[in-house]
């Protein structure tokens, strides 16, 4: 831990030369649920015209802190101050009235209403008791263009892509003049170009003199944006530092509290030359997405591209989850009937990017979740064998290091990282030879991330093939032996060896000519 000496002492150098009292300050803020303290002794401040990032692993208390600041949850210790005056927010509406707003991580919009109707939901403008749609549409259009959203005020929110919906959510928070805006992982569902647009929005707020609190798992964003950084760990505040003095590696180490080993496992010896899976002329959604590719035993094949480039659709089509056709050879045998269960029997599984919506039954305990896809393994002669099932769960919990207070908890009560490990255990039940993982580490903390990378590494070392679809470039580049880049529903580039760099992936994913790493397969 040489780092601790080279870093400034928290608090001292953090005081910026501004005379005015901070826009929002917490004094010994804490929160306990019964005997369980989730946050204690947090004393941080954010000033007008500053971006203050909050980082920490999942479970560090970031979300709780945000909810305390925005009135969604009441503190059990300490208090808040705004411009030097003590304040208390009875609820989120009181916080908003005082000028503090939280932009939620989850999308909370009414899908059947239009963009403008969503923006003004609960605060509709009226003219003589009649809703004034024209004025609301006008103001909506203004705020949408200000934050770089490409949707129209009359668009139905349910028909918008996820990224646009996220921007609508942000627009809703910014509709009125704010003193403090809190972002909770606003870029979790955005692709790189959209992230850039969003960061510009955040910087714009800073220039207008708004105090911004910014939570993110993406340390590159934090490095690019933040003026100061506060680190939380295990419900305690580790300290606040000026961003200029911290590298991403410093941040990661402060979050974890120990030196990180290499996050990505070393690349393995060259994979076998005979492909385990060969897909030819796969056509999904009546031609919207197409592709041919092969993957070899002992290989991690990365799939890159912007969100909306058809990556997920290509593989959902392969699995028979979308209308699709094509020719497939797995382990030397042609696979004719395509369905999730037929593929699983043949030795191929797919782990969805949508953990909560398509991966796990959140209202059910761990055991039925684990065995849902492979019930035959825990089946006795006539019935499901509860004993085999709980043995399987114990093994999965140990193998995948799923950390739970009790195995009788519902899956929805686990943290994101543990949910992801449970999902991994679920698809691995049948010991497949090809594993497709869509966004292996979305929304999970760095400790769990490195564990999942280790699992992937072990998998391919054992001679299996792994296809990783990822929006996180460092992850894609760090894990993959070979990368296919998709754009507008087509595979436009194949990168291998030294060509696998972030720059090449971005270039192929965004630029007209795809010659950068084009190679014949």
């Amino acid at each position: 831990m040489t780092m601790a000496q080279t870093l400034p002492i928290p608090g001292s150098a953090a005081a910026l030369p501004t005379a005015a009292a901070p826009a929002l300050r917490t004094v010994a803020l804490g929160k306990a649920y019964g005997p369980i303290t989730v946050l204690s002794e947090v004393g941080l401040d954010v000033r007008a015209g500053e971006i203050h990032a909050i980082i920490g692993e999942n479970g560090a208390g970031k979300s709780t802190l945000m909810k305390l600041l925005s009135g969604h949850v009441q503190p059990s210790a300490g208090h808040l101050e705004m411009a030097g005056h003590r304040v208390g927010f009875a609820d989120a509406a009181a916080a908003e009235a005082a000028g503090v707003v939280l932009v939620h991580q989850e999308i909370l919009l009414a899908g059947d209403l239009s963009v403008a109707q969503n923006l003004f939901l609960g605060r509709e403008l009226t003219r003589r008791w009649v809703v004034d749609d024209r004025e609301m549409n006008r103001r909506s259009a203004r705020i949408l263009s200000a934050i770089g959203a490409h949707c129209h005020p009359s668009d139905r929110v349910g028909s918008l892509p996820l990224a646009q919906r996220q921007l609508v959510q942000i627009a809703r928070a910014l509709l009125e003049q704010r003193k403090v805006v809190i972002f909770d992982e606003p870029t979790a569902v955005l692709a790189n170009d959209e992230v850039a647009a969003l960061l510009a929005v955040v910087r714009g707020l800073r220039e207008q003199g708004v105090a911004v609190l910014y939570i993110s798992h993406r340390l590159d964003e934090v490095e690019a944006l933040a003026d100061r950084i506060t680190v939380l760990r295990d419900g305690r505040m580790i300290g606040t530092w000026p961003a200029a003095g911290l590298s991403q590696r410093d941040m990661a180490e402060l979050m974890v509290g120990r030196k990180l080993d290499m996050l990505y496992p070393p690349k393995r010896p060259a994979p076998s030359a005979v492909p385990v899976l060969q897909v030819s002329n796969l056509v999904v959604d009546h031609g919207a997405v197409e592709g041919s590719f092969a993957v070899h035993p002992g290989e991690v094949l990365g799939i890159g591209g912007m969100i909306g480039s058809g990556r997920t659709e290509l593989f959902e089509g392969l699995l028979g989850l979308r209308p699709a056709q094509g020719r497939y050879i797995l382990n030397g045998k042609e696979v004719a009937h395509r369905s999730v269960s037929a593929w699983q029997t043949a030795g191929l599984v797919y782990l969805t990017e949508d953990r909560k919506g398509k991966g796990l039954l959140l209202d059910e305990p761990l055991a039925p979740n684990l065995t849902l896809q492979a019930m035959d393994i825990v089946h006795g002669r006539l019935t499901l064998d509860r004993r085999k099932e709980s043995t399987a769960l114990e093994q999965a919990v140990a193998t995948y290091d799923i950390r739970v207070r009790s195995v009788h908890l519902d899956a929805g009560q686990l943290s994101g990282g543990n949910q992801q490990k449970l999902l991994l255990a679920k698809v691995m039940m049948t010991d497949p030879s090809v594993v497709i993982i869509d966004e292996p580490t979305r929304g999970i903390d760095i400790g769990n991330k490195s564990q999942i990378y280790d699992f992937i590494n072990q998998l391919v070392r054992a001679g299996k093939a792994c296809i990783v679809i990822s929006s996180e470039l460092p992850e894609l580049v760090g894990l993959s032996d070979r990368v296919l880049v998709m754009r507008a529903g087509r595979i436009v580039a194949e990168l291998s060896g030294d060509q696998v760099t972030e720059q090449n992936v971005v270039y192929a994913a965004t630029s007209g000519s795809a010659q950068a790493g084009r190679k014949t397969a």
């Binding site: 989850l321 999730v340 039954l361 799923i402």
Partner: protein, 328 residues
């Protein structure tokens, strides 16, 4: 170190949840109220009477537990019951001259097949036709009701006199003092519980109702699971019909009228989530008993007019839902 902690956690017994006991506590309270209000409530004949009368709703509600927990809803059970009853009586009457009492067996078999087919029709409209279960079964509810009215020409379809005596024990008989309908209910519930809690199908039913997308991504055919649930519902309706015929000896256009409401009430106050996912077969039985005990109490005591039975049952379902929310 981590591993040992986890193994202990795995061995720990499942946490007791008061919410799971709700329906049974409610039943106990209702029975206690009955004992205090009227001394004849606890008499053997009255108890046997109450349990026997609840048998039809309980049997149909076991099927409804499948449909609802898999994410569906069946409003047609009451009129399906009348329709199946009508078909069975017509079959039995037609076969009686040639087969004698055996016509009852064949008629029962025909009833089961017709019930299963009615359920299959509902299931296919919902899964292949992709129509909301509420609308699809609202439609078939009207169809079945109209068919029985048409078959009976607006009157009644009585069973042949010669069959009354041999068929009688199926409703009025008993084994070791336990009324036959009660035994039948118990068998249906045991089979239902076995399928729901111990088989792959039961697990898939729960998964389809809990989150259909997760089920689909896990290789479960949600359409097949839901269709099967409707077929099970149809078979349960037929079983209830077999037991019901000897009671009144006829099918009429009002047979089973509004039973769908009692059935759904029994399922929901029994703790099965209306949005699907959580199935509580024994809770369903408790729910059916609660409804019947309350009706019985209102008849026995003179405090409230028995015309208000449906109103009280309506209050019960709302209270049960509120209790469920606040206990959680």
């Amino acid at each position: 170190m981590t591993t040992s902690v986890l193994t202990e956690a795995a061995a720990a017994p499942r946490r007791f949840r008061w919410a799971d006991m709700g329906p049974f506590l409610a039943l106990a309270i209702v029975i206690l109220a009955g004992v205090m209000l009227n001394s004849s409530f606890l008499s053997g004949t009255n108890i046997a009477n109450v349990v026997t009368r609840s048998a039809f709703i309980a049997i149909i509600a076991v099927g409804a537990t499948f449909v609802i927990s898999s994410g569906g809803l069946d409003l047609s059970v009451g009129s399906m019951m009348a329709f199946v009853t009508g078909i069975m009586i017509l079959t039995m009457n037609r076969l009686e001259p040639s087969m004698g009492a055996n016509a009852i067996l064949v008629g029962a078999g025909v009833g089961l097949v017709v019930g299963a087919l009615c359920g299959l029709l509902n299931g296919l409209i919902v899964t292949v036709g992709k129509i909301e279960p509420f609308i699809a079964t609202l439609g078939t509810m009207g169809i079945f009701r109209a068919l029985i009215t048409w078959m009976s020409d607006g009157g009644s379809i009585p069973i042949d006199r010669a069959l009354r005596e041999p068929y009688r024990p199926v409703y009025f008989g008993n084994v070791l003092g336990i009324p036959f309908p009660v035994i039948l209910t118990l068998i249906v519930v045991l089979i239902g519980a076995f399928i729901l809690y111990r088989t792959k199908y039961g697990r898939r039913c729960m998964a389809a109702g809990s989150n259909a997308e997760v089920a689909r991504f896990s290789g479960v055919s949600v359409a097949r699971v839901r269709t099967t649930a409707f077929v099970i519902q149809g078979i349960c309706v037929a079983v209830a019909a077999i037991c019901y015929i000897p009671r009144l000896g006829a099918a009429t256009p009002t047979t089973g009228q509004l039973w769908e409401l009692q059935v759904i009430t029994a399922v929901v106050i029994g703790g099965t989530a209306l949005r699907g996912g959580k199935a509580r077969v024994w809770g369903t039985v408790a729910g059916a008993l609660i409804l019947e005990v309350i009706a019985n109490l209102m008849v026995l005591s003179n405090m409230v007019s028995e015309y208000l039975v449906a109103a009280v049952q309506g209050v019960i379902i709302i209270l049960a839902m509120l209790a469920h929310r606040f206990i959680k």
